[in-house]
């Protein structure tokens, strides 16, 4: 009996395998390095059977001449080599791959660490660096060590103001930043069945923050329905009994709003312990929490009120932005005093659109709070959307009210 990773990779944990990659994607940052490596390999054309994608999301639009020039070169390559190409404003690679591209059972490799997000669809999705990506462009294959898996057993439903992000911070806190190194996470149990695709993507997204190679959900009726709405007919994946290296259990009704404090994602505290901490910036967005359901939740909390601190909102994709415009969610957000940026990664990696000043404090819905990540001397706290929204209204860390 096998874990889902073992089934998809068709080999037992611990074995080194060469596998054809179904879908491979890179972004503006890793793509330019991959292109250089690919040229240096002496390559002239792309491998045949893999679907290739390039997404401009990390520093898009470009913030200076150097970035713009490098992006120009990559854009021309993507077009001339007939890769699927998403330009400035299209959105974040992981979000777009999750809007009806990645299917259950596929092997998906992204040149970005948060590629694990796509495990939400029952795919084996993991991140690599630029040169590994270049080799996939060349061969359509990569080598992998089949991971053993940690079982994250979920029961119950969220109660109170807690949401998927709080559960994600809870499991990273429990496992630690290297608790699942070289391993995959599998999210299973009755509690997993009730989670929406958006919630699953949040939980898969944070698996890299525990060092995991992948974070998988079994495709079920919710996955089948989501993909059917996007034109795909897929079958659910039925779990087999299997052995995990470690089993962790969470009752979702016990989860409370949490905050990860600088400079580690695994240092989490209940939001109540940090209440009153003054903020200079609130950031809502990223591949963790920039989806339509996140923007709608933000709007519900801030509608008719005014934020007390600069609040930057960055939709994860153009379709998220369009939906927020059509439903009026965006107007509510902007009327409340938030500002909205181009769909993409926004200030998450500290390159543009909301870099922190020295000693400034940001509450962010992103997934990393490493030292100096959003600017030298700035401090990053991580939370859910509800906590970020409630805190934006007060200008200090504030526990969210029960919806």
């Amino acid at each position: 009996m096998s874990t889902l990773s073992e089934r998809i990779l068709n080999a037992p944990a611990g074995e080194y395998v060469d596998r054809k990659v179904d879908r491979a994607f890179a972004c503006d940052g890793t793509g330019m390095l991959a292109l250089e490596a690919w040229k240096n390999m002496g390559a002239s054309h792309l491998a045949g059977e893999t679907e290739f994608h390039i997404f401009f999301d990390h520093i898009a639009p470009a913030n200076n001449t150097t970035a713009a020039t490098l992006q120009h070169e990559l854009r021309e390559f993507a077009k001339s080599s007939f890769m699927n190409f998403s330009d400035v404003g299209g959105g974040i690679c992981h979000q777009l791959m999750g809007e009806g591209i990645v299917l259950p059972g596929e092997i998906v490799i992204g040149a970005d660490s948060h590629s694990v997000t796509l495990g939400a669809f029952g795919a084996f999705a993991t991140g690599v660096g630029a040169t590994d990506m270049a080799a996939i462009w060349l061969t359509g294959e990569t080598w992998l060590r089949v991971p053993a898996s940690v079982g994250i057993h979920l029961e119950g439903r969220f109660a109170g103001a807690a949401e998927a992000k709080d559960l994600a911070l809870a499991y990273v806190g429990e496992l630690g930043t290297d608790g699942a190194t070289y391993q995959a996470l599998e999210f299973i149990g009755d509690g997993a069945k009730d989670l929406s695709i958006d919630e699953r993507m949040v939980l898969s997204n944070l698996s890299i923050e525990a060092g995991a190679k992948a974070g998988l959900f079994y495709a079920d009726d919710i996955t089948v329905r989501y993909l059917r709405e996007r034109g795909h007919t897929v079958k659910p994946q039925l779990p087999e009994s299997c052995t995990y290296t470690k089993d962790i259990e969470f009752d979702l009704s016990d989860i409370v709003p949490l905050v990860a404090v600088p400079h580690r994602v695994d240092t989490v505290k209940p939001v109540d312990e940090l209440a009153g901490l003054p903020l200079d910036q609130v950031f809502i967005g990223t591949c963790t929490n920039g989806r339509y359901s996140d923007l709608a939740r933000l709007a519900r909390i801030v509608k008719g009120k005014k934020v007390a601190v600069r609040t930057i909102v960055v939709p994860a994709s153009a379709s998220v932005l369009i939906q927020a415009i059509r439903t009026g969610v965006l107007a509510d957000i902007v009327e409340a005093g938030c500002t909205v940026g181009t769909p993409g990664c926004g200030p998450c990696l500290g390159a543009h659109m909301g870099v922190l000043g020295e000693e400034e404090v940001c509450l962010s819905t992103a997934n990393r709070n490493f030292k100096n990540r959003m600017g030298v001397g700035g401090e990053i706290y991580l939370s859910s959307v509800a906590t970020a929204a409630a805190s934006a209204l007060e200008g200090e860390i504030t526990a969210p009210e029960v919806a």
Binding site: L33, M41, N63, G127, G129, A130, D132, A135, K213
Partner: protein, 156 residues
């Protein structure tokens, strides 16, 4: 593959943002990465790395997939990195750019002489021998070629 160098001790959980900050990523000039490597940890460290072997705590290279982190360490002249565990993307990136990694939990004293033989899985610290886990045959092959670019130039 064999090598030797003087130890530089670093803590656990060094993330790739600390190895090379996001603000230096948008260039292809490797000397820029080398001169700013570990800047947010210790601004003077970049200039002490030539010929050094980094001996770090667990989970070295966690976080972002940025290959510039492995390139910066190599370009700064580091001979090898030793740690009890590495984050997996950094592990692949380092091998792919030709930077040797050794999984070992060693007591570290700055400046001690370290010698290693990767094929035999041996590390010698100030004359004391330690048997360590060897890299997979594929990784040894990639490293032996000088990195994944050179590997594929040869194998195509």
């Amino acid at each position: 593959m064999q090598g030797e160098g003087r130890a530089i001790c670093l803590p656990a959980d060094i993330d790739t943002d600390v190895v090379i900050a996001g603000r230096y990523l948008r260039t292809k000039d490797r000397s820029i990465w080398a001169s700013h490597v570990f800047e947010d940890l210790d601004p003077g460290l970049a200039h002490r790395l030539k010929g050094a072997i980094i001996v770090a705590g667990k989970n070295f290279g966690c976080g972002s997939s940025r290959e510039q982190a492995a390139i910066a360490i190599k370009e700064a002249g580091v001979v090898a990195v030793i740690a009890p565990t590495f984050a997996r993307i950094f592990f692949r990136n380092a091998i792919n750019v030709g930077l040797p990694l050794i999984e070992a939990d060693l007591d570290c004293t700055d400046g001690s002489l370290i010698k290693f033989n990767l094929a035999q899985g041996i590390v010698e610290v100030s004359g004391n021998r330690h048997k360590v886990r060897t890299l997979s045959p594929r990784m040894q092959e990639i490293l032996g070629a000088g990195g994944l670019v050179e590997y594929w130039r040869k194998h195509r």
